[in-house]
Amino acid sequence: MDARDLSGDGLEAERAREHLEMVDRILAESSQRLCYGAEYFIVWGLFSGIATAIYQLIGNGVLPVWALNAVLVMLIACVAFTILRGRGHGAQRRGRSVVQREFFNVLIIAIGLAIVVNALGFNLFSNWAQSAIWTFAESAVLFFIAVHGNARAWIAGAVMIVSLAAANFSPASVAGYVLAAGMILGYAGFGVAESLARD
């Protein structure tokens, strides 16, 4: 960076404009500087997809009901991973931007609400409604990233919404598989795509 100073007595309009342009550029770049762990998407996408597939397998009589315990174990593992990883990110060398904090807020609120709503409203949300809530929450996170200029997030979010619509018109015996595919392709797939893009 050019470290030329503006002299107090001879303040030139051109220099003032130059300084303001620099400030505008820095602020514009800062507002778009969103770093998120691709691993969150892979972990939560796989969890929600596998859990939904397990529901479908149980519903179809392929798996016994006690297989739901596996979902609970996976959920606890995912929550623990998110908390530990989040703490690790906080201690990283890179500074945490305001938009970064907003992203974590959106992530925690969306995923947290999906867990709470599913836990508290299990009598209200029958059949595939709970999985649809997951799809909605995960696509909200993706669209938050998308509006910060990530084209892959637009595509991933669209995949999830399309899977929701497709599941809506699918037979009950396969609706869960369609939702699960959307979660794995859209959410976990986005995480994989981001990992590859950074490498």
Binding site: M1, L20, M22, S97
Partner: protein, 92 residues
């Protein structure tokens, strides 16, 4: 006009810190493209003026110096940018 912010690099530091909670020295150096000594000298002036908070810690046994904008620094930045804009308006 704030004399401290008449320096382009110090103004850049404040602008970078504006969107962050904390920013590491290495990150500031990377984004501003400044040398270590030059950046350190400018940061020291901002810290002395109370515009920026400095924190020295260890992460994974490595020293980490990071910075945060204070409310004094934020107010000074807003006022300074406003004055720059007024100057441009007056000359146009």
């Amino acid at each position: 006009m704030d004399d401290l912010l008449l320096s382009k690099i110090r103004l850049g530091i404040i602008a970078e810190l504006l969107a962050c909670e904390w920013l590491a020295f290495s990150e500031l150096q990377r984004t501003l493209g400044s040398t270590q000594g030059n950046l350190g000298a400018h940061l020291a002036k901002l810290v002395d003026a109370g515009y920026v908070d400095e924190e020295k810690t260890f992460v994974n046994r490595r020293p980490l110096t990071r910075y945060r904008l204070t409310s004094t620094g934020r107010n000074a930045f807003v006022q300074h940018v406003s004055q720059l804009q007024e100057l441009l308006k007056a000359t146009s």
